[in-house]
């Protein structure tokens, strides 16, 4: 017990504190930028980020993962806030948390195994594109100063590390651009123009909405989207951190942890959030390894914002845009573009479809759903190819034997029927299914059709090995767990 606390919290104190500070600087721009996107005051996003980071530090399943108010979630809230207002957003946040806890208890995290690699890549790329697109409003209809500032900011972010790697370059960018804007007295938008910033520590708030069915009907569709997207991004991020640090995480605990964090966020007037891929990578890169890094990020964030609020208000939006463009670039999987040529076409289509669906609907859940569906269809199609029918005519020319090998199911049943030559006039047909697998009712229906057709031609039909072939239809999968099941499956 003491050992695991030490391991989970205090085994890397220096690295975690520094990394937490660095990450806090990358959290602030995202929280502010996406509060604006969602249509609420920056303080909603900042409180949420503080609260979610701190709570997940304790109850999350993946140490060193950073969760806060995110782009993926913010883009889902836009219409809710526009049509019903902030209080409904808070209520939806609470419901999201409840749903996520439920999903954690139902162990829905294990459904992640249906999300293929290409869908994950598509998700990540779509997320990067969403983050980038969210910066465009800050870059349209503005003076040349803003472009210059943004470009300068990006230059500092990527070039300053060549000078020193001991000061976070996003911090340098923010400080330099703020100083420049104040010194030159530029008339450009600052954080203060975006809405209210936190001026106190967060306090307990219960959303002021009527507790009735109508409210539920309004918030439920949003909450379910938020819950699904939040868990998807969190679990994907957890896998990325697992790989980076060569450690393991508790995915179901993470689901419940995200839920608890969102409930807590809703109760202090914050919006829903989830894990952040970009910031989590920054955390690991900066040396964060334990829960302490997540906690530090949240606490620093609040300290910076509450106590330096007047200064934060003076930060030009261009500086935050530069930081967010960096996050977007770092999140995008650039190797996936090079892989488009190398990978099979079906994989690339799945990835692209996921991206396109997300970018058009702004809903990562829909993108992932379409991606998973496409991947499943491609897979079914591929497996359907593993099938062939050979036939031999007996010496007297009266009996034809068809030998069926491979997988017969909904995707291949029609082709299975086409293999048979009904025009041939023979007395008897033998269908040998000993090496075939019938996976569903469609396959059986196909066989029935074949038998019927032959009978109508006046042919006697004998089917061999139907029982073995169709044993896979029975949904009692326990049968396949028994010893020798694999041999049975691979060809009786």
């Amino acid at each position: 017990m003491m050992n695991s606390i030490r391991q989970n919290w205090f085994s890397n104190i220096r690295g975690d504190l520094l990394a937490g500070l660095v990450v806090a600087l990358a959290l602030i721009p995202e929280a502010i930028a996406f509060s604006v996107i969602a249509g609420v005051d920056p303080k909603i996003g900042l409180y949420a980020s503080f609260c979610i980071a701190v709570v997940t530090a304790f109850v999350g399943g993946r140490p060193a993962m950073i969760s806060a108010a995110t782009a993926a979630m913010a883009v889902l809230m836009v219409t809710l806030v526009k049509e019903h207002g902030l209080q409904y957003l808070l209520a939806a946040t609470l419901l999201t948390g409840v749903l996520q806890i439920g999903m954690g208890y139902l162990r829905l995290g294990s459904l992640m195994r249906f999300v293929s690699r290409s869908v994950v890549t598509g998700f990540v790329n779509a997320l990067a594109i969403l983050i980038f697109m969210a910066q465009l409003p800050e870059l349209t209809n503005v003076t040349w100063h803003v472009y210059a500032m943004t470009a300068g900011g990006l230059a500092i972010i990527y070039l300053f590390p060549y000078v020193t790697r001991s000061i976070p370059s996003p911090l340098v960018t923010i400080v330099v651009l703020t100083a420049l804007a104040m010194f030159l007295n530029l008339d450009i938008r600052t954080v203060g123009d975006m809405g209210e910033l936190p001026d106190t520590l967060p306090i307990f708030l219960w959303p002021e909405v009527p507790l009735d069915f109508e409210t539920l009907a309004i918030i439920f569709p949003y909450s379910i989207s938020l819950a699904v997207v939040g868990l998807l991004e969190s679990l994907m991020t957890a896998t990325i951190i697992d790989d980076l640090t060569d450690t393991s995480s508790d995915k179901n605990r993470e689901c419940k942890g995200q839920g608890v964090a969102n409930i807590a966020s809703g109760m202090i007037g914050g919006m829903a959030g989830c894990a952040m891929i970009g910031q989590s990578v920054i955390n690991v890169k900066s040396g964060g390894r334990t829960r302490l890094s997540t906690l530090t990020a949240g606490v620093f964030l609040l300290i910076l914002v509450v106590f330096l609020g007047d200064w934060v208000a003076k930060i030009p939006m261009a500086a935050l845009v530069a930081v967010m463009i960096m996050v977007s670039i770092g999140t995008f999987s650039w190797s996936s573009i090079a892989n488009l040529k190398k990978h099979p076409l079906s994989t690339s289509i799945v990835m692209m479809a996921t991206v396109v669906m997300v970018v058009t609907t702004h809903n990562l859940a829909i993108g992932v759903f379409v991606g998973v569906l496409l991947a499943a269809l491609f897979f079914a199609n591929k497996v359907a190819q593993y099938k062939y029918v050979s036939s031999t005519l007996s010496e007297d020319g009266l009996t034809r034997t068809y030998k069926v090998v491979g997988q017969v199911f909904f995707a291949s049943a029609d082709k299975f029927v086409d293999f048979f030559d009904f025009k041939e006039a023979v007395d008897k047909v033998v269908i040998d299914l000993c090496q075939a697998h019938f996976w569903d009712i469609t396959a059986v229906a196909g066989l029935d059709k074949v038998v019927l057709k032959f009978r109508r031609e006046g042919t006697v039909v004998e089917v061999i090995g139907l029982n073995e072939a169709s044993s896979t239809i029975v949904d009692r999968f326990a049968v396949h767990d028994k010893p020798g099941a694999v041999d049975n499956l691979m060809g009786h």
């Binding site: 050992n3 085994s11 890397n12 690295g15 520094l18 990394a19 660095v22 990450v23 600087l25 990358a26 972010i157 990527y158 300053f160 590390p161 790697r165 001991s166 000061i167 976070p168 370059s169 996003p170 911090l171 990325i240 790989d243 980076l244 640090t245 060569d246 450690t247 970009g278 990578v281 920054i282 690991v284 890169k285 900066s286 040396g287 390894r289 960096m326 996050v327 670039i329 770092g330 999140t331 999987s333 650039w334 190797s335």
Partner: protein, 284 residues
Amino acid sequence: MSHVIACIDGSSITLAVCDYAAWASRQMDAPLDFLHVLGKSEYPIPVDLSGNIGLGSREHLLQELAELDEKRSKVALEQGRIMLDAAKARALDDGVTSPITSRQRHGELVDTLIEFESDIRLLVMGRQGEQGDSAGEHIGSHLENVVRTLHRPILVIPADYTEPRSILVAFDGSATTRKAVEMVAASPLFRGLPCHVVMVGADKAESRAQLDWARTTLEQADFEVTASLRSGQIEEVLCGYREEHAIDLIVMGAYGHSRIREFLVGSTTTHLLRKSTVPLLLLR
């Protein structure tokens, strides 16, 4: 249930572990197995606070971290192999005739030992590991965990080896210590060594009877037994008696009480582990 398993790491205590394990292996005529567990060590992580991510940052970071781990692991693996070879050579020098083997595993020490539990006849490990070399009375971070988790005899040894010439069995009449007496009587480990049974408590008929039982059990197993009933603080009495009679090894039941009680009144086992300058054989 057949091997003497000796846990070695890079600490200065390793030599003594080899010697004691060799002694136990000779006494029991049991095969000796050296175990080196490559833990996921807490290496300092290179600090890069630039805080930016760019093209392919994730892939690069993964590669970078994997390369670092790879280098460290290779070195640790090689080091471990050298240590194991040295340990084997030392055990041979010490006159072990039974087969000597060695193995290296990745993971946590406790988890690894649980995996091998069925194989362990006697586990030999140092009082403190690599990190504890200069930590005074502090006991190794793994030790208490191992002792609490494993249900096999564990010989916890100090940094210097002296061949045991006499043993002390700490006895209180409880089920744990009765079992310990029976195990000592049945085992070839202490064959031929004079055996002191010490009971701490008030001089009551009941205690006498229990002590007599211990004496007869051991005498029947051909031990030369000195039984003694003393009153006072358990730890002090045991340590005092040991010094008086210059005893080289203490046998005791380990962690007989619940954790809650130990939290409140302290654990004799932990106390002795901390104070003792001679090997402790802990029996569960």
